[in-house]
Every structure is written in structure tokens, then in C-alpha cells.
């Protein structure tokens, strides 16, 4: 099929190695295909309001690509990405989906970021028999789009109860108030959190849903304060989580704050400054963990970018390593990826420890979860003390 505007933004290998590869191929016939990159498509936001997440993905991707290609690539062929900017907009993600499906060189697709952008493209990937690997798509219906929709995103039915259990059982909250992003992710998490809290015998005294672009939470916090909670549970991302934490102190609320693991980012501490001191959270990895894959990831990330990795970096990194393992074990056609995902076992992962898919849901269960808190401007392991002394 023709592709009139395709300038694939192939990041690896460089033009020189491609030329070199082509030259060598001309000399030695038959090995020509060996130098062609194994190409994965990425549909995600590089511009527009969600561009920060696309930028975080890219860091994780590039780090993982280096690792894969440094280790011999995929049976001698380099692994490469074609990153197309969707602006997190369904109109553009469906066009990108047609572009990827129509390009036989692309053997699997990653993304998009939000549910509207990702799930609008699902029918096209499903009919084109190209795996759509939604690595941040926690929407419960995402993988129901068809058997070519796979996801290693954290499952809210796991994350949310774990956080609430931490807040209630370990930290001792009895009357939490919940503030949540009013998105598909936030709403699903909130519903699960309320269920869990009830099951654990706690009373949720208030729930407040806010829009992602909101910045002012003072009046929301008055409402929360008047419900007399003994702690706050935040189902937030890092930027809004930091804003809430700052305004909490202004509103005269001194109760402990327990935030979803999605705030695990150095940006949370930078933006929240002294107001996030003492915030409790959970993380799927942390730099002092002894696990080899975590140590490797954190060390290499720091060396390359001179900053601490966050959750989105880790999802992106994990995903490339997972797909590389599938490609190495099961082959490099589209169908190989689809079949291989069902059969792959025990891939080392920063988030999960070991990855294997539940073939019925096409999701991964059993993310690692560590209880953390912010102390001295850093995320550290929880000190084991309850936030509210038991009576």
C-alpha cells in the first residue's frame, strides 16, 4: 500500500548503520533482511496537553532500546520504534492506526495514552490483526476490544484495594475522605477504593471528583474538612496530587495524606515541596530495592538522564523489554507477537517482578507493591509506624 507522507521517525539504527547494512547486504545477498530493523509503532502524545507523558515514555523507551540493541537486538536485527504524535486525540490516533496497519514493517503497536484516544483506534487494530499493546490503559473495557488488545497496565482492581488496605490496616485510618480525578481511571479506582474501605470496616466520609485541568482545591478541601476525616486518600497524578497537598495545609487540614502510586515521581516532590513531606504512597519499584532488574533500570536511567525515574518511565521501559522477549522467543511477524504474548512466561520486569499474561483477560496480574512515604524530600520505604496511633 502507498504511504504518501510517511517519513518514519526511526530512531535506531542511525542512517549510517542502515546504509552500512544495505552495503553489506548488497555484498552478501541473503543476509539483507538481517539488518532491517524490527519495527514497533508507537501512538502517543508528543505535543498537546498530555505531551509530558509522551516525553516520559520516550525516555523509558530509549533506555530499553539501548539495552535490547546492546544485547544483540532481535536475533541480530536491531529493534526500532516509529513514534507518531497523536496529541492524545482520537481523530489522530485512528489515522495513525490505519497508517501502522498499512505498513507491513510494523509488527506491533504501543499506546495510546488516554482511553478515548486508545479505544477509538482499537477496532482498526483488531481488524488489521495488529497487536495494540496499551501499556497505560487501565480502562476495564480496553482489552475487551478484541483478542489483539493486550495490556500490562497496572490493574485498578489490584492497585486501589492495596492502597486502601495500606491506609486502613497499616496506617490506621478509620474515616478517610477520597479525592479523585474525575476520569475513567479515577472513577474506577474510587469505586473500588470505597468498596474496599467498607469491607475493611472503615467509613468513607466524603468523595470528591475533580477535573484534570483544575488547580484550585481550596473550597473542595473545606468540604472535605467539614466531613471530619481522619485522613485523605488521593487518587491523583503527580501534578494535581502536589497541588492538593499544598492547598491542604492552607485549608488547615493536618491529617495524613495517602496517595495512589501514580504520584511516584520526582516531580511530585519538586512541585509539592515541603507540603508533600510525610505523604504516604505506594510504588511498584523504588531505587533501594535489591531486585536486579530494578537496580539495573535505576542505575542506567540515572546515568543517562541524570534524574530519578518515575512510574511512566518504568512502564515504557518494561514494555519494550517484554516485547523484545516475545520477539526473541516467538518470532517477528504480527501473528507471532499475538501468539507469543499468550505463551510468554517469566519475563523479568521492574513493575511486576515476573510477567505472564492471563490469556482470558489479556492482562498481567501481580504487580509488586511497596509501601512508601516522603521523608526529607525523598521517597523512602515506609517506617512501619501507623499514621494514627491505635487506641
Amino acid at each position: 500500500m502507498r504511504d504518501p507522507v510517511g517519513h518514519p521517525a526511526v530512531t535506531v539504527p542511525t542512517r549510517r548503520t542502515l546504509l552500512l547494512g544495505a552495503g553489506l547486504a548488497a555484498l552478501t545477498h541473503g543476509t539483507a533482511r538481517a539488518a532491517d530493523p524490527v519495527l514497533l509503532g508507537v501512538s502517543g502524545p508528543l505535543t498537546g496537553p498530555a505531551a509530558q507523558y509522551g516525553a516520559q515514555w520516550k525516555k523509558g523507551f530509549d533506555l530499553a532500546l539501548d539495552e535490547v540493541n546492546g544485547g544483540g537486538g532481535i536475533k541480530g536485527r536491531p529493534l526500532a520504534l516509529q513514534f507518531e504524535d497523536s496529541q492524545n486525540d482520537p481523530r489522530q490516533s485512528v489515522a495513525i492506526a490505519q497508517k501502522f496497519v498499512g505498513n507491513p514493517a510494523i509488527i506491533a503497536e504501543l499506546g495510546d495514552f488516554s482511553s478515548p484516544a486508545s479505544m477509538a483506534a482499537s477496532p482498526i487494530y483488531q481488524r488489521g490483526k495488529l497487536v495494540q499493546f496499551g501499556f497505560t490503559n487501565s480502562h476495564p473495557d480496553f482489552t475487551k476490544g478484541g483478542d489483539y488488545m493486550w495490556s500490562n497496565s497496572l490493574s485498578q482492581s489490584e492497585q486501589s484495594p492495596q492502597l486502601v488496605t495500606y491506609a486502613i490496616k497499616d496506617l490506621g485510618l478509620r474515616r478517610p475522605a477520597i479525592l479523585h480525578l474525575n476520569t475513567d481511571w479515577g472513577r474506577t479506582s474510587k469505586d473500588l477504593a470505597v468498596q474496599t474501605a467498607k469491607a475493611l470496616g472503615a467509613e468513607v466520609v466524603a468523595t470528591e471528583g475533580y477535573l484534570p485541568e483544575e488547580r484550585d482545591f481550596r473550597s473542595t478541601l473545606v468540604r472535605v474538612r467539614d466531613a471530619k476525616p481522619d485522613g485523605l486518600i488521593l487518587i491523583s497524578y503527580y501534578a494535581d496530587g502536589a497541588l492538593i497537598a499544598r492547598q491542604t495545609r492552607v485549608a488547615g487540614i493536618t491529617q495524613p495524606i495517602v496517595a495512589m502510586g501514580s504520584v511516584y515521581s520526582p516531580k511530585f516532590i519538586e512541585l509539592g515541596a515541603e507540603a508533600v513531606e510525610g505523604v504516604y504512597t505506594q510504588s511498584n519499584f523504588f531505587p533501594d530495592e535489591p531486585r536486579a532488574e530494578v537496580q539495573d533500570f535505576v542505575r542506567r536511567f540515572r546515568a543517562r538522564y541524570n534524574e530519578e525515574p518515575d512510574a511512566f518511565n518504568a512502564y515504557a521501559y518494561d514494555t519494550i523489554l517484554l516485547l523484545a522477549a516475545v520477539l526473541r522467543q516467538f518470532g517477528t511477524t504480527r501473528q507471532d507477537v499475538h501468539d507469543g504474548l499468550a505463551r510468554i512466561k517469566d519475563v523479568p520486569s521492574v513493575i511486576f517482578g515476573r510477567v505472564a499474561f492471563d490469556t482470558a483477560t489479556r492482562r498481567v496480574a501481580g504487580a509488586n507493591t511497596a509501601n512508601m512515604q516522603v521523608k526529607g524530600g525523598k521517597f523512602v520505604a515506609w517506617d512501619g509506624k501507623p499514621a494514627i496511633p491505635r487506641t
Partner: protein
């Protein structure tokens, strides 16, 4: 609730209103003089915040040096915008500058994002954080500084406009720029001064608000513009002291809305109240009823000039070529073309109500959303065949859309735009909060694909042909109507509604007909989109789409049917063409948009 709790809500409302005031004052100043909603104001605000960030965190300047730097940089930027992008359009048409500010905003936001990365950054306040207890909460030094800056600038502006010669010149220009010119006022200098002052203020407010939240990011401009515009409407457009009062009122309304209904109803409450204010006091709360502003949107607002006549033969040839596209293009090209056609439907609808009838709508995405939800729910819940559901969705959208906009029929000029903007937001917020019907933010998944009976239409060529047939049919129908008695009546309403009414034209009825027809087309567009996407939620049809639709309609030439289709082909196609530029593509797209406006300020194919 106790009195002390109400005191807390009141203080919080005033604190956030205080922040809106900084934005609204700059917007009001520019509107007052240039009669222009400056969509680039939020972008200047963002640039100001980043200049402040560089000075404070990178150069470690004290606040006393940072503030002048921010003021100067923003003022220079404002002057540049006025000189390079707006002044050349001065005599072209009155809607071209509006489009230019949208283009400038796109370019500035993209540059900010490229230079500073899209990541949010902390902008710590160098002020000591003394806090004063009021009721249960507290206010800090920064709150007081923001208040002082807001009141101080409003006071300074008021005395500047009242008591200085330059201020007289500004007010004279605002009232009648041609008459001012005759009296020897250098109108260009006045405009430049106004942009410098308003932009300096915009930049400063970006920095202060950034410090207040300790958080700045390149995406913050759109919402800033939105809130600022709403605040200044409440106070009365172009009314500087009114803008401050309006901002405080908006803050209070939001705060009480949260108190009464909860956080997720905050904006819903505010927008409903905004519409109520517009109905009750169509010139803003603080304008006297007799003091009608000149009508910017009707009559002289539209460019005089002949539309480009495309010979019917050429149109037939273009149609034939379009029908043959599936034999030449890849699925990707077809998908892009389908998207362009769907936006064409939206633009046809908008060009009718905005161009032919003169009601510039900034909430047209709301119609898409109504059509999409109607069709998706009919097809899923009632198992109605998809094609039937799409047609029904068009009818539902026509009815609901017309009823929703009905209160705005008596409004004029920019007030219509703001009312429709509010209505668009209300539609999105109702979808978000009406869980029983719309499933709230979880959205609707598993929407059945396009099909006629048992014939599936989901492959790219079939979907393309289907949408093409719909677009051509509606475009021909619209063209037929425009050349009929009805079309002439609509144009008469636009050009002079008082004359039209004195000839016995019932204003409401004819406007309702235009909205019903436009709503039907847009509703069908939304419905088809829902079946193509299979999943929609409240974010699928956002306010950015309304702005894009207006951009398309103005670029093509308001009221011009071929123009609407050409505009959507360009504005949907160009970002796809620029894909190879990766992060730079939206910047280049913005520059291309500005060049098109510069070359054809009356729209590519002219106003019809």
C-alpha cells in the same frame, strides 16, 4: 452549614477570583480597544510564567529584578503580536484578527513546549510565607500581593484612561477608530500601547499564578484564557473595573457551587449562572442597559467582498475525484479524508449559524457530543439499526441543540460566542455527571460499527464513501436553502436584525431553523464518529474541537460551503502532512495557519 464555614467558602472564592481578575483585566483592556477576544492572552501568560521561572530558578534573580524582566518581555511580545500579526489585518475583516490570535496562541504554546519541555515545573515564591488565619483557613503573602497587583493595575488603568492624554486617545479609539484617526490620534500607537500594557499584565499574572501553585506547564494557557474570558463577560466586556468585579463574582460562584453540590459540579454551576447573567443582563452585570456597545459581529463584522465562485463543472470534477480516492489512496489517506469530511460536516453547520446567520458559536463540539451519545445509546440500549440511530441522533441533536441555544437568540455579537461556549461546556459537564445515562467518565464502549442492514461499512473505503455521500448531500441541501427565500432571510437577519424584524421576520423562528438544520448536520457527524471510534467519553469532544471548528469555518470563509470543506481538508490534512516533523509539526501547522490568514484574511474562498 455554619457561618464560619460560609466565611471559608467566601474567602476561598475571593482568593481564586483574585487570580482570575489578573487575567480578565488584560483581556478586557484589549477587548475594549480592539474589540477582539484575544485567544493568545493565555499564551502570553504562560510565557510570562516561564520568563519568571528562568529569572528566579536559573539566574537566581531577586523578585525586584524578576518582575520588571517579566513585564518587559511580555510587553515586547505583545507589541510584536500587534505589529506583525494583527495590524496587517486591520482593514481586512473583523474576524480575521480573532483567527490570528488563535494561530498565535498555537505557535507560542508550541514554542514554550519545545524550549522548556512539556513537563510541569516548580516556580517557588521567593516571598516569605507569612500566613494570616481567617476563619478555618488562611491567606498568605502571595494572596495579598496578587490582590494588590489586581487592584493596583485596575486603579492605574482607570486613571490612565480617565486622566491622561494617551488614555483619552485609547478611549476614543475604542469608541470609533476612524473618527479618532480623523482627530489626529495615532491609532496604531494606541493599539500598540494597549497590547503592551495588557500583555505585560498577562505575563505578570502568569508568573504570580505560577508561584501561587508552585506549578507551571506549557498546557496551562487554554484554561487560563477560558476563565479570563468568562470572568470579563460577567463584568461586561471591555469594562476594566467590571472585569475585576466579574472575576471575584466568578470565584465566589465556583466556591459556592462546590459548597452546595460538590466539586464535580463546580464548572456546571458557574456556566449555568453565566448564561443566566447573559439572559438577565446581556451586556454584563456592570454595564448600564441603555449603554449598548456597537455591534461587532453583525454587519460590518463580516468582510465585504465577493466569494470566490467555483464553476459547477469544477465542483463536479472535484466530487468525482473525491469519489475515486479509494482506488488511489491507502487506508491511512482514506481515514484522514474521512476525518476531514466529518469535520467538514461540523464546519458546514458552523458556517451556517456563524456565517449566514451571524451567530458565532464557540460550543459546537457540544452538538457533536449530543449526536454521538444519542446514536451510541440508541444503538446499544434500544438495539436500533446503526443507520437509523444516526438519523435519529441528527434529529435529537437538532432539537436539543436548538433548545439549548434558544436563550442566546436575543444576544448579540461576542455574547453569543460566550453563551455558546458555556453551553458547550455544560453539555460536556452534564455528560460527565449524568452517570445513569452516559456512564460518566467511564464512557460508552462497544459501540457497534457503521453498517447498513447486514452490510458492514467499517473498512476504510466504505466508511469514506458513506461519509462522503452524507457530506455531499447535506452540502447540496445547504446550498439549495441558501439560494432560497430562507437563505435570504437568514442573511437579512445577520446584516441588520432590526431592519429584518421591522419587515416582519420573526427572529427566534428563523434562528431556530438555522440551528435546527446546523444541529442536524453536526449531530450526524458526531453519530458517525461514535460508530467509527467504538468508544466515547466526555473528553472525546472537548472545547479544543469547538475552536478548531471555528478556525475551519473562518479560514474557509464564513458562510461559504465550499470554503468549509476546503478549510477542513486543509486543517485536518496539514497536521498529517507534517508528521515527519515530529515535535515541531504543530508549530509549523500554526505558522501555516497564520500565513493563510495573512494571505486571505477574508477566508480562502471569501465570505458568502
Amino acid at each position: 452549614m455554619t457561618w464560619s464555614t460560609w466565611l471559608d467558602y467566601t474567602v476561598n472564592g475571593l482568593v481564586i477570583g483574585n487570580i482570575y481578575a489578573l487575567l480578565a483585566v488584560g483581556l478586557a483592556l484589549i477587548f475594549g480597544v480592539a474589540n477582539l477576544i484575544n485567544f493568545a492572552h493565555g499564551s502570553i501568560y504562560t510565557v510570562g510564567a516561564y520568563v519568571g521561572w528562568v529569572c528566579i530558578t536559573q539566574l537566581h534573580w531577586p523578585l525586584a529584578a524578576t518582575v520588571p524582566a517579566v513585564l518587559l518581555a511580555s510587553a515586547v511580545l505583545g507589541v510584536g503580536i500587534e505589529r506583525l500579526a494583527l495590524r496587517p489585518l486591520h482593514n481586512a475583516s473583523r474576524i480575521a484578527p480573532l483567527l490570528a490570535t488563535i494561530g498565535i496562541s498555537l505557535v507560542l504554546d508550541q514554542i514554550t513546549q519545545l524550549v522548556f519541555t512539556p513537563n510541569p515545573r516548580a516556580l517557588p515564591s521567593p516571598l516569605p510565607d507569612w500566613r494570616f488565619q481567617i476563619g478555618g483557613g488562611s491567606v498568605g503573602t502571595l494572596d495579598l500581593l496578587i490582590l494588590a497587583v489586581g487592584l493596583g493595575t485596575a486603579g492605574a488603568l482607570y486613571s490612565f484612561l480617565r486622566f491622561t492624554k494617551m488614555g483619552w486617545a485609547v478611549r476614543a479609539t475604542a469608541q470609533d477608530s476612524d473618527a479618532a484617526k480623523q482627530m489626529g490620534v495615532d491609532v496604531n500607537r494606541v493599539n500598540m500601547a494597549v497590547f503592551a500594557i495588557a500583555s505585560a499584565l498577562g505575563g505578570l499574572s502568569g508568573m504570580l499564578v505560577g508561584m501561587y501553585y508552585n506549578n507551571i506547564d506549557p498546557g496551562m494557557s487554554f484554561d487560563a484564557t477560558l476563565k479570563g474570558v468568562v470572568a470579563q463577560i460577567i463584568g461586561g466586556m471591555g469594562n476594566v473595573p467590571g472585569a475585576i468585579a466579574g472575576s471575584l463574582l466568578l470565584g465566589l460562584i465556583e466556591s459556592y457551587g462546590i459548597a452546595l453540590f460538590g466539586t464535580s459540579y463546580r464548572n456546571l454551576f458557574a456556566f449555568v449562572l453565566l448564561i443566566a447573567i447573559l439572559i438577565w443582563r446581556p451586556n454584563g452585570l456592570f454595564a448600564s442597559a441603555r449603554d449598548l456597545p456597537p455591534e461587532p459581529m453583525t454587519g460590518s463584522f463580516l468582510a465585504r467582498g465577493k466569494p470566490v465562485r467555483i464553476p459547477p463543472r469544477a465542483l463536479i470534477a472535484i466530487g468525482a475525484l473525491a469519489a475515486l480516492l479509494p482506488f488511489a489512496g491507502s487506508d491511512y489517506v482514506l481515514q484522514t479524508a474521512t476525518n476531514a469530511l466529518l469535520y467538514g460536516l461540523l464546519a458546514l453547520s458552523l458556517t451556517l449559524v456563524a456565517g449566514t446567520v451571524g451567530m458565532v458559536s464557540l460550543g459546537h463540539a457540544g452538538l457533536l457530543a449530543i449526536g454521538a451519545y444519542a446514536s451510541a445509546l440508541l444503538a446499544i440500549e434500544l438495539a436500533i439499526p446503526v443507520v437509523v440511530a444516526i438519523v435519529l441522533a441528527g434529529i435529537v441533536t437538532a432539537v436539543i441543540g436548538t433548545l439549548l441555544v434558544f436563550p442566546a437568540f436575543r444576544m448579540r455579537g461576542h455574547y453569543v460566542s460566550i453563551a455558546t461556549l458555556a453551553i458547550g461546556q455544560i453539555v460536556a459537564l452534564v455528560i460527565l455527571n449524568w452517570n445513569g445515562l452516559t456512564r460518566g467518565p467511564i464512557g460508552i464502549s462497544g459501540i457497534p460499527p457503521l453498517s447498513i442492514g447486514n452490510l458492514p461499512l467499517y473498512d476504510a473505503p466504505q466508511a469514506y464513501w458513506f461519509v462522503l455521500v452524507v457530506v455531499v448531500a447535506l452540502a447540496l441541501l445547504q446550498a439549495r436553502i441558501l439560494s432560497s427565500h430562507l437563505g435570504r432571510t437568514w442573511r437579512a437577519l445577520r446584516d441588520d436584525d432590526i431592519a429584518a424584524r421591522s419587515h416582519g421576520v420573526a427572529l427566534d423562528r428563523y434562528k431556530a431553523m438555522a440551528f435546527a438544520f446546523g444541529g442536524f448536520g453536526a449531530g450526524i457527524g458526531g453519530a458517525v464518529t461514535a460508530h467509527l471510534y467504538s468508544y466515547i467519553n466526555h473528553e472525546t469532544f472537548n472545547a479544543q474541537i469547538s475552536v478548531l471548528a471555528l478556525t475551519i469555518a473562518i479560514l474557509g470563509g464564513l458562510g461559504n460551503i465550499s470554503g468549509a470543506l476546503l478549510g477542513s481538508a486543509l486543517l485536518i490534512g496539514l497536521p498529517e502532512l507534517f508528521r515527519g516533523l515530529a515535535e515541531y509539526r504543530m508549530l509549523i501547522y500554526g505558522v501555516a495557519l497564520l500565513l493563510l490568514i495573512r494571505l486571505r484574511p477574508q477566508g480562502l474562498l471569501g465570505t458568502a
